[in-house]
C-alpha cells in the first residue's frame, strides 16, 4: 500500500486519539469550559443591551461573533502554541524519525483541533439556543452557511497556526505574543461590538484578517437577515467572505509546508536536549 496514504490514515487516527485525550484530561477540558463560560457570562451580561441602531440583543449577536473568536483561538493560538511545545519537548523530532511521520503528525493536529473547535462551537450554540432569543437556527440554509464558513475558517486558521508556531523558539517567548495578537484582533474585528462603530482606519485593518470575516460569515448564518444593516455596506458580503478566507487558506497552505520543513530540518536530539536543560534550569 502507498506509504503516504498509510501515514495519512495513521495521522487521522492520531488526531482522533489526541482529541479524545483532550476531552478526557480534566485540565484540558476545564480550560475549554472556562473559556466558553467566560464568553457566556459576557453575553448574558449584555443580553438586554441592544445592538446600536436596532432592537436586537447585543448578547445574541456577541454569541455568534464569539464563534469566530473561538475558531481563531483554537485554530491559530492553541494550534501554534502546541507546535511550539511539541517542538520543545521532542514530539516533532519523533515524528521526523519515522517514515512519513511529519505528514501523520500534521494531519493529526488538524483533526484534533477541528474536533476541539467543533466541540467549543457546539457548546456555545447549544447553550445559546436555550439562553438567548433571536438565533436563526431553524433553517437548513443557516446550517449550510455555518458549515462552509466553519470549514473555510479551519483552512484559513490551522495552517496559519502551524506557521506562527514554527517561528517561536520556546513557549515562554511565544506566550505574550499570542495574547497580544488575539486581543488586538478581537478588538478590531467587531466581535463584541459592530465594526462600523470603529474609526475607519481600524475598520480597514480589521478587514484584512480572517477573524472579522469569520464573524461576518457566522452572523450571516445565525442572525436574522435584517441584521445585515449594521454591517459594512449593509450586506453580508458572502463573496468577499469566501474570497478573503480562501486567500488566507491558500497562503497558509502554501507557506506551512515550507516553514514547517525548515523548522523540522533543524531538529535533532541535541537541540531537544539543549532545550530540556534550559527548561530544567529555570
Amino acid at each position: 500500500m502507498n506509504p503516504a496514504l498509510v501515514a495519512a490514515r495513521a495521522g487521522l487516527s492520531r488526531g482522533w486519539i489526541e482529541f479524545k485525550q483532550t476531552l478526557t484530561t480534566p485540565r484540558d477540558l476545564i480550560s475549554i469550559l472556562i473559556t466558553t463560560g467566560t464568553f457566556l457570562a459576557v453575553m448574558i451580561w449584555t443580553r438586554h443591551t441592544h445592538v446600536p441602531g436596532t432592537h436586537f440583543s447585543l448578547g445574541t449577536a456577541t454569541l455568534v461573533s464569539v464563534l469566530a473568536l473561538d475558531v481563531v483561538y483554537y485554530g491559530v493560538v492553541t494550534m501554534g502554541d502546541l507546535i511550539v511545545v511539541e517542538r520543545e519537548d521532542g514530539t516533532l523530532l519523533r515524528a521526523k524519525a519515522i517514515p512519513n511521520g511529519m505528514l501523520g503528525y500534521l494531519l493529526g493536529k488538524v483533526v484534533n483541533f477541528s474536533g476541539q473547535i467543533a466541540f467549543a462551537v457546539a457548546i456555545l450554540l447549544l447553550t445559546g439556543a436555550f439562553l438567548f432569543t433571536g438565533l436563526a437556527i431553524g433553517s437548513p440554509g443557516s446550517w449550510l452557511t455555518l458549515a462552509w464558513v466553519l470549514a473555510l475558517g479551519l483552512l484559513a486558521t490551522l495552517p496559519l497556526g502551524a506557521v506562527l508556531g514554527s517561528l517561536f523558539p520556546s513557549q515562554r517567548s511565544a506566550g505574550p505574543w499570542w495574547l497580544l495578537m488575539l486581543g488586538g484582533l478581537t478588538a478590531i474585528s467587531g466581535v463584541f461590538y459592530p465594526i462600523t462603530h470603529l474609526p475607519v482606519f481600524l475598520q480597514w485593518a480589521g478587514q484584512v484578517f480572517p477573524m472579522y470575516w469569520l464573524g461576518l460569515g457566522m452572523r450571516s448564518a445565525l442572525l436574522p437577515n435584517a441584521m445585515a444593516a449594521v454591517e459594512v455596506g449593509h450586506s453580508w458580503r458572502h463573496l468577499a467572505t469566501f474570497g478573503v478566507l480562501s486567500a488566507w487558506a491558500v497562503a497558509g497552505l502554501v507557506l506551512a509546508p515550507v516553514v514547517l520543513r525548515r523548522m523540522a530540518r533543524r531538529e535533532s536530539g541535541s537541540s531537544v536536549a539543549a532545550r530540556r536543560e534550559k527548561a530544567m534550569r529555570r
Binding site: M1, N2, P3, V6, A7, R9, A10, S13, R14, I17, E18, Q21, T25, E86, D89, G90, T91, L93, R94, K96, A97, I98, P99, N100, G101, G104, E267, S268, G269, S270, V272, A273, R276
Partner: protein, 301 residues
C-alpha cells in the same frame, strides 16, 4: 557492498571551529560500534549526521548504501533512532503509542523483515509488559528509557543509533538495557552505533570501540585489542616480608618468573593487572590532546 555504515573523511565545521576533521570508519551488519570520547569531541555531531538530522561540511557518508543527507522515507524506515524522551506523548498509553508509531512502517515490510514489530512482542522484549496500559507520564525514568528504545526499534531497523542511551540509568536499568541490545544483535542482526561515557558499558557491548578526540578517530578496535596494542605494560603487585611492592612491567610473565626465581616462597599477594580500557582510554585521549597525531587501528587477528 557489505558495510552498513561507511564514513570517509567526514568533516564538520561550525563557523571557524572544526569539530570533525576527517573521521573515517565502517561497520558491518550485526556489529555493535561504541563511540567514546571526551565532551565536545564531536560524538553527537557524528551520530546526528549519520541519522540524517544534521548536514555535514564535507566527506562521504553512507548508511545502508544511502547518503543520509538525501535519505528518503524508505531509507528512514530501515533506520532507528533512540531519542531521549522528556515530556512528549505524556497522555498516550504505552501500548497505544507503540501501535500507532508502528503503523507508519507497515508499507516498508519485506519478505525478510516483517515491519512493524508485533506490539505485544516488542513490549515484552523491552520488559514493559506490566506497564503496557499505563500513560507515558506515569512511567518511571527507567521505564521511560525502555519505551524510548522500543520506539526506536518498532520498525525493526537494520541500523540503530543511540546517543548516550543509558545516561541517568540506575545499575539495574542499565543491565536490562544491555540485555535488550544483546537480543537485538543476536536475533535481529541489527547494526548498532551508540555513544557513551561509561567505559564499562563500552567494554560490555562493543564489538568495536572507536575513540573520537580532537575531531578524529584516534583508536579503532575491540576493548581487548586496544589495551593490548596501546600499552604492553602491566601492573604487578606483590608483598614480601609484610612490605608492599608495585612494578610496571613490559613483559609481566618474564618479570614474575624472575621474581619467583629470586625470592621464591616469600612472594605473596601476587596480582598482575593488564592495562584496563580506562587506562588505555585515558592514555590515548591524553596523547591526542597533546597533539601526538597517530591512529591506532587494530586488525582482528
Amino acid at each position: 557492498m557489505d558495510d552498513v555504515l561507511d564514513v570517509r573523511d567526514l568533516r564538520m565545521r561550525y563557523g571557524k571551529t572544526d569539530v570533525l576533521n576527517g573521521v573515517s570508519f565502517a561497520a558491518q551488519r550485526g556489529e555493535v560500534l561504541v563511540l567514546l570520547g571526551p565532551n565536545g569531541a564531536g560524538k553527537t555531531t557524528t551520530i546526528e549526521i549519520l541519522e540524517g538530522f544534521r548536514m555535514r561540511s564535507a566527506g562521504e557518508v553512507s548508511v545502508l548504501g544511502t547518503d543520509p543527507a538525501h535519505g528518503g522515507e524508505a531509507w528512514r524506515a530501515r533506520t532507528g533512532v533512540v531519542l531521549q524522551s522528556w515530556r512528549d506523548h505524556a497522555k498516550w498509553h504505552v501500548r497505544e503509542l507503540l501501535a500507532h508509531l508502528g503503523r507508519y512502517y507497515a508499507p516498508y515490510s519485506t519478505p525478510s523483515v516483517m515491519r512493524p514489530w508485533d506490539v505485544d512482542d516488542l513490549i515484552e522484549t523491552v520488559g514493559l509488559t506490566p506497564h503496557a496500559r499505563k500513560r507515558v507520564r506515569n512511567l518511571s525514568g527507567g521505564q521511560r528509557r525502555r519505551l524510548d528504545v522500543a520506539i526506536g526499534i518498532v520498525g525493526r531497523p537494520e541500523v540503530l543509533f543511540l546517543d548516550e542511551p543509558t545516561a541517568g540509568f540506575d545499575p539495574e536499568a542499565r543491565r536490562e538495557f544491555h540485555d535488550v541490545v544483546h537480543r537485538l544483535t543476536d536475533l535481529e542482526q541489527t547494526t548498532i552505533l551508540l555513544t557513551t561515557h561509561d567505559l564499562d558499558e563500552a567494554e560490555r557491548l562493543a564489538d568495536r570501540i572507536l575513540i573520537l578526540a580532537g575531531g578524529t578517530i584516534i583508536a579503532d578496535g575491540s576493548a581487548d585489542e586496544l589495551s593490548r596494542a596501546m600499552s604492553g605494560q602491566s601492573e604487578v603487585r606483590w608483598s614480601r616480608d609484610g612490605q608492599q611492592f608495585v612494578h610496571a612491567a613490559d613483559d609481566a610473565t618474564a618479570f614474575v618468573r624472575e621474581l619467583f626465581r629470586q625470592y621464591g616462597e616469600s612472594v605473596e599477594d601476587l596480582e598482575v593487572r593488564r592495562a584496563s580500557l580506562e587506562d588505555t582510554y585515558m592514555a590515548l585521549v591524553r596523547q591526542a590532546e597533546h597533539g601526538v597525531p597517530r591512529r591506532l587501528t587494530v586488525v582482528a587477528a
